[in-house]
């Protein structure tokens, strides 16, 4: 069995106050910002490794991004992935979810045989949750999103999807694209042995020389999405602090609750 995991390197959320937006093209300025593997993608890596441990699969991890995304791939190798490939080329810069999923799908075609493609349900920076589904469309294979449990049954997988008000159990024929939620597992810490091995690992970089994709389908030119404005939202209005002694506070609180009809949902 061959599992491909697509991962993205994202800014560490702790760094968000320091993240700047380039006013010219509305993209995030990543220089000097510490990066991590998108947390949901870590769950995808973990799931792939667990399947590998149970069913003797081969796990290939790919990432599309700038050269420093190799760090994310190395961590995936340290966790137990077998191979890593970086998809990187200046012509891919500025890709939206359409161009990204196209580029990834072409890279996956180049890799060849695969049974399962795993991704996190969404990236914590863009939050679009579109690359997984886009990938499935480009490849013309089934997709199941928001998966919190996954069971391999020969050429089928049985998965449990998290929906707003229920769980949905679905069986899907392989090959398929699956995006996973945080609940699916707890990612392991990479082992030191794995880390030392990963440090020395050769990670091939596939640029457009190798992939040969039409320039109007990649990067900014291949991206119909235009971000017209990025702005920092206004902080939500401050809560009201009720002053007074305990009795006064309780009275005022009841008054406020009544005035705003806050308990209407109880009726």
């Amino acid at each position: 069995m061959h599992i491909i995991v697509c991962i993205k390197q994202v800014p560490d959320t702790e760094e968000l106050p320091r993240v700047r937006v380039n006013p010219e093209d509305n993209t995030i300025v990543r220089e000097g910002i510490k990066s991590i593997i998108n947390p949901f993608d870590e769950n995808a890596i973990e799931e792939a490794i667990r399947i590998k441990e149970k069913n003797s699969a081969v796990v290939t991890v790919i990432s599309m991004g700038p050269p420093q995304a190799k760090d994310a791939l190395r961590k995936a190798l340290a966790m137990g992935a077998d191979k890593a490939i970086l998809i990187s080329d200046p012509v891919f810069a500025g890709s939206d979810t359409l161009a990204t999923s196209f580029t990834l799908s072409e890279a996956i075609r180049k890799i060849g045989n695969f049974d399962l493609i795993l991704l996190g349900k969404q990236a914590i920076d863009g939050d679009t949750a579109q690359v997984g589904p886009g990938l499935a469309e480009w490849l013309g294979i089934p997709q199941v999103t928001y998966v919190r449990r996954l069971e391999i049954k020969d050429k089928l997988i049985k998965v449990e999807r998290v929906l707003e008000d229920c769980f949905e159990i679905v069986e899907v024929k392989l090959p398929a694209v699956v995006t996973v939620t945080k609940e699916i597992n707890e990612p392991r810490y990479p082992s030191l042995k794995g880390l030392l091995r990963a440090r020395k690992a050769e990670i091939p970089v596939w640029g457009n020389d190798y992939l040969g994709l039409p320039l109007d389908k990649v990067g900014l030119d291949g991206s119909p999405t235009r971000v017209t404005k990025v702005f920092v939202p206004e902080p939500p209005p401050k809560g009201k602090i009720i002053e007074g002694d305990l009795n006064q506070k309780v009275e005022k609180l009841i008054e406020e609750i009544k005035k705003r009809d806050l308990l209407k949902w109880l009726r």
Partner: protein
């Protein structure tokens, strides 16, 4: 309201009124002469700090009647929240004149009853004196009021590229004033030391109301009787600290934490001694036993994924990237040589935070597991620490006691938490007492002491004569009386007068 209304449980037997009484003088001295807080006093207090900063209602003062020591509670008569040094000065002068006990309080996260007002009277809360007054980058010093939360200070300093390495597990609720009063320490003490290594200046008010200023933004200072060191760790019994100057260090470029699951204590011992031989100084060498990990993993949301083992070492290294990379390679080799199956690496922030959140949740998890808990904080020379942990296991199995054992192995400091699993309280208490007597004697024979970082406070007071001679106790008693002749400041703590 009853003065010193005591609602205690287990410590009544062998903590506060324990089997060791201090020789000669009675603990009653002073108490007899304390006055109650009258309406007249309350009026005066209100004129000092303003009405809104004086609490007298039962529900308002309840939070100030305990710290985090299980089942220990004494109500103050009044709580006063101060805003500046001048108010502290007026308050102490008033209490001293009126002979009213006054207990300074930081975050109330202590675990030996240090901030609990045993004799009633006034609780002096520093929660409103929580300003970071000056971050002096050039001198790498910071000037803070005592009520600054440790974690807030750390985050502010980090923005300036500075690091205050003392990180008690309660860092997000304990205050710097409390840290200084208790001479607290944290998981980074192996490389960086504890609070006492960082205090360069103290502004404090004596019980008489006089203000003293010791030290300054000075790395070196050999001009007095080490007043700073005397006040640091005095558990609020000598003076009320109103300003602190702390030294900081440059923020390390990077940090990596290693998790080493081990099955034999002898392996732990070998790993630690090899770390010293290799001349590596990790920031932290923490130890957690199997039971503690299990209980804490059940307690926290989304616990980190850890393999099953009898013992866990958590080794943190920080510094320049290249150095850290090299250190973890050497540490990895040490562990491999000791046949440790594998070492896990927490490199990026979320991974490390998850791990430290687990470490910092241990105490709450153990308390949830067994609300009746006796916790000890024994320290021995660090070469003896694994031997001592071995003894803990032996003694606990001898008395069939359940214990969660964790701590700062690299500092020779271990937290032994005896958990009540049997239903009979009396029998359990008896066994705990016997086991602790035995373990204290063992620790002392190894050259150890009964507290590494939690202080003596109220609940370890009875054991002080085990580790201090009459002459030593006499000299600290005389020191106390020099600072506080009327014994109004945090009376009843550390030793009886």
């Amino acid at each position: 309201m009853t003065r010193g209304n005591r609602l205690s449980g287990v410590f009544g037997l062998f903590g506060v009124f324990g089997s060791f009484s201090l020789s000669g003088k009675s603990g009653e001295r002073g108490e007899m002469s304390y006055k109650r807080v009258t309406q007249k006093i309350i009026d005066k207090l209100e004129s000092i700090t303003g009405r809104e900063n004086v609490l007298t209602k039962e529900e308002d003062i309840e939070p100030y009647s305990h710290d985090e020591t299980p089942q220990l509670k004494f109500s103050p008569e009044v709580v006063v929240k101060v805003k500046d040094t001048s108010q502290v000065h007026q308050l102490l002068a008033l209490c001293n004149k009126e002979k009213i006990p006054i207990t300074p309080r930081g975050g109330g996260t202590g675990v030996t009853g240090g901030a609990v007002p045993v004799k009633g009277g006034v609780v002096l809360s520093f929660e409103k004196m929580n300003q970071i007054k000056d971050i002096d980058i050039e001198n790498q010093m910071v000037v803070v009021q005592p009520g600054v939360i440790n974690g807030n200070l750390q985050r502010e300093l980090e923005k300036e590229g500075l690091f205050y390495p003392v990180n008690p597990a309660s860092m997000d609720s304990c205050t710097i004033g409390g840290n200084v009063a208790e001479s607290s320490s944290g998981a980074n003490a192996v490389k960086y030391g504890g609070t006492k290594e960082y205090v360069c200046g103290i502004k404090a008010v004596l019980p008489s109301g006089e203000l003293i200023k010791a030290g300054g933004k000075l790395v070196k200072n050999a001009t007095d009787y080490r007043l700073i060191q005397l006040i640091t760790g005095s558990e609020g019994t000598l003076a009320a600290i109103t300003e602190i100057i702390l030294r900081t260090v440059p923020l390390p470029e990077t940090r990596v934490d290693l998790i080493v699951p081990v099955n034999k204590l002898s392996t732990v011992k070998n790993i630690i001694s090899k770390i010293w031989q290799e001349k590596i100084i990790p920031a932290s060498i923490e130890y957690i036993d199997e039971l503690t990990i299990k209980i804490t993993k059940d307690f926290v949301q989304q616990p980190p994924s850890l393999p099953v083992a009898h013992h866990y070492l958590l080794i943190g290294v920080d510094g320049k990237e290249e150095r850290v990379t090299k250190d973890i390679e050497i540490l990895g080799q040490i562990c491999m040589d000791e046949k440790v199956e594998d070492v896990l690496v927490a490199e990026d922030r979320p991974a490390r935070e998850k791990l430290w959140k687990l470490r910092q949740s241990i105490r709450d998890a153990l308390l949830k597991f067994s609300l009746t808990m006796v916790e000890e904080d024994i320290v021995v020379p660090r070469s003896k620490i694994t031997e001592f942990v071995e003894k803990i296991n032996q003694v606990c199995s001898e008395y069939s006691l359940t214990a969660g054992v964790f701590g700062h192995l690299g500092d020779g400091n271990v937290h032994l938490n005896l958990l009540k699993t049997s239903s009979c309280q009396d029998e359990w208490e008896k066994k705990v007492k016997k086991a602790l007597d035995k373990l204290f004697k063992i620790a002392i024979s190894m050259g150890g002491k009964i507290s590494g970082e939690h202080g003596i406070g109220l609940v370890k007071k009875a054991y002080l004569p085990l580790v201090m001679s009459p002459a030593e106790i006499d000299i600290i008693r005389k020191t106390k009386l020099t600072f506080d002749p009327n014994n109004i400041l945090n009376p009843g703590k550390i030793f009886d007068l």
